[in-house]
Subunit: 349 residues, 2 copies
């Protein structure tokens, strides 16, 4: 039995649900893979807790469900103990960085947590797009120089293994065109508008469902899809794109009549993230995020409001489409477990 | 630069196309992965050729395109030199076993080639279902005992990474239900019958397109789909199924009126391979291969005649569907290259 010591930074929905998944899967991980997972440290915005003996996953999840802080964890919780300090001090094998995207602050403190963990010889797993958008190559180089792994399959399209498929299963291929519908909120909004709701009604409904968070600008203006496309471009296409390289069209202000007309034609609008190989410079890609009417025979043309997908158009593997139906948000959290097993389970098991 | 020495057994369409892909990708493999691939030996049904300096990939492919035998390869080709003898004598790192399914002969000589290669410390890659259907567990155990890898991503659904996704990206999940449409011939036949062709006309057209080979019984009676489901069950579900455990329904003798009526309802028939977890015995699965009318909102309900797909219904990763559009047969051959890179390229690259 191998014990893996984890530090988890970020205990919002993603982090809390991961605790629940890890607890549910404890016996299976031991039986199937001979792995015992121990959460030795955790941090939220109010403080941290650390104990080499391991925190109780159920208790951590319950604290967070009840609106508390990990700083309130009995005995070992401390208010004001920052995540960066925890990562600098904890003895652990893996950092799970699950805090929300925070590009206004240069992806901090996630970026510092990740750098610190790598410098201390820890593997890093993150579903947080921020650090990848800001420092993709730097973080990969840092991981390599310390002989640790850096995994982020959860950054794009929730539980869909889009990065994994793109990096591993497309090896040796030339990807001529990559299409993705990686954002749920915009798809739902455009569906609601096509059904005849006003913009305000659609916003209210998306918020009630829980799909829309905050003021929604990150999703609705296309920034979320842009960030995901930038990560796909760097990871899968080996193309060093930045946010500003993506031609972005917001769905804010779209004419509902346009959406309704598309529906009558049997088409469905989705915010399509697209990378197209430049025919004159095969190492270059043109990147865009655009509300696009997809016909039913497009590989992503029948996506429902809880579905995301990606299409790889390749030279030697044909055209491969992968779609996830994510009726609840658990798959996005579970990607961290997938990444963990990618590190610790040999590739032919 | 690392040199990988390959022995290729089977130079039908799959083996020949692999030679073409390897030649096309030679520069890319060196630049992207630092790998030089050298085909030191090859065998077909008439003989073998071997040289430590490497055979010329272009010349091998051309020999086969012109209907010749590898035994005619200048200087180093020998008529009557059996594949089993080649594998027993060649100094190589990897056996690529690409001969056709031959269950009448107990999957021989492929099975002997694979065992011999593993015993001699070679990794084994095969898109041949025969050895896996006959000896899945034995071959995995043998590979483990010799510290070599055994990969067969090309056995199911052509170039679709169905095995890879199921084994790696579904780790830690419980797969409650697995659906696959892994056979092209039956889908094409049912489409043609639904369009109004007679059975004889449909057979003739499928043969003219090149989809139907031999008498077609292996495909049309569902054996091909059964074999693929057995491989998925063993590899992905960890369920030790055999061919006789699958409830099989042939498409031979189907009433065209039934197919035409489905089309009028907006449904499409496909030969569906299905594994369903037994609610009373979660480690058990019920396996079947059945012509099934799929509605357009089924994840595999819009597959065209060149498309195959698989659906994983899981507990923690939602429902994940993967579909390949394989307009030409190259992807099936390229899976051997994918498997090769899975062995030689570290999992975080």
């Amino acid at each position: 039995m191998q014990t893996i010591r984890l530090v988890l930074v970020g205990l919002g929905n993603l982090g809390r649900r991961l605790c629940e998944v890890l607890e549910d899967k404890e016996a299976l991980l031991q039986q199937r893979y001979g792995l015992a997972v121990r959460l030795v440290g955790a941090a939220d915005s109010r403080g941290s807790a650390y104990t080499p003996d391991g925190l109780d996953l159920r208790q951590v999840a319950q604290l967070k469900r009840e609106g508390g802080s990990i700083a309130d964890y009995p005995q070992v919780g401390r208010h004001g103990w920052a995540a960066t300090a925890l990562v600098a001090e904890a003895e652990a094998d893996v950092l799970l960085e699950a805090s929300p995207v925070n590009l206004e602050q240069g992806a901090e403190p996630a970026l510092t947590c990740i750098r610190t963990a790598m410098n201390r010889g820890m593997h890093v797993i993150t579903p947080n797009k921020g650090p990848l958008v800001v420092a993709h190559r730097e973080l990969h180089a840092l991981a390599r120089s310390h002989g640790v792994q850096f995994r982020y399959d959860g950054t794009v399209a929730g539980g869909l293994p889009a990065i994994n498929m793109g990096c591993r299963d497309m090896r040796a291929a030339t990807i001529r065109r990559l299409e993705a519908v990686p954002n749920l909120t915009t798809g739902l909004m455009m569906d609601l508008l096509a059904e005849g709701l006003s913009w305000e009604e659609a916003i209210a409904q998306a918020r009630a469902i829980g799909t829309l968070e905050g003021d929604g600008a990150w999703d609705l203006e296309g920034w979320d899809a842009v960030a995901k496309l930038v990560i796909l471009a760097n990871a899968v296409l080996n193309f060093p794109a930045r946010m500003e390289d993506v031609i972005r069209t917001s769905i804010v202000g779209m004419d509902p009549a346009q959406l309704q007309a598309a529906r009558l034609r049997g088409e469905r609008y989705r915010l399509l993230a697209l990378a197209e190989q430049d025919p004159d410079h095969p190492e270059m890609y043109r990147l865009s995020v655009t509300p696009t009417a997809l016909s039913a025979d497009h590989p992503l043309g029948t996506l429902g409001s809880k579905q995301m997908g990606v299409v790889f158009h390749t030279d030697i593997y044909g055209t491969i489409t992968a779609i996830i139906d994510e009726p609840e948000p658990i798959p996005s959290a579970a990607t961290m477990l997938r990444d963990l097993l990618d590190i610790y389970v040999s590739s032919d098991r």
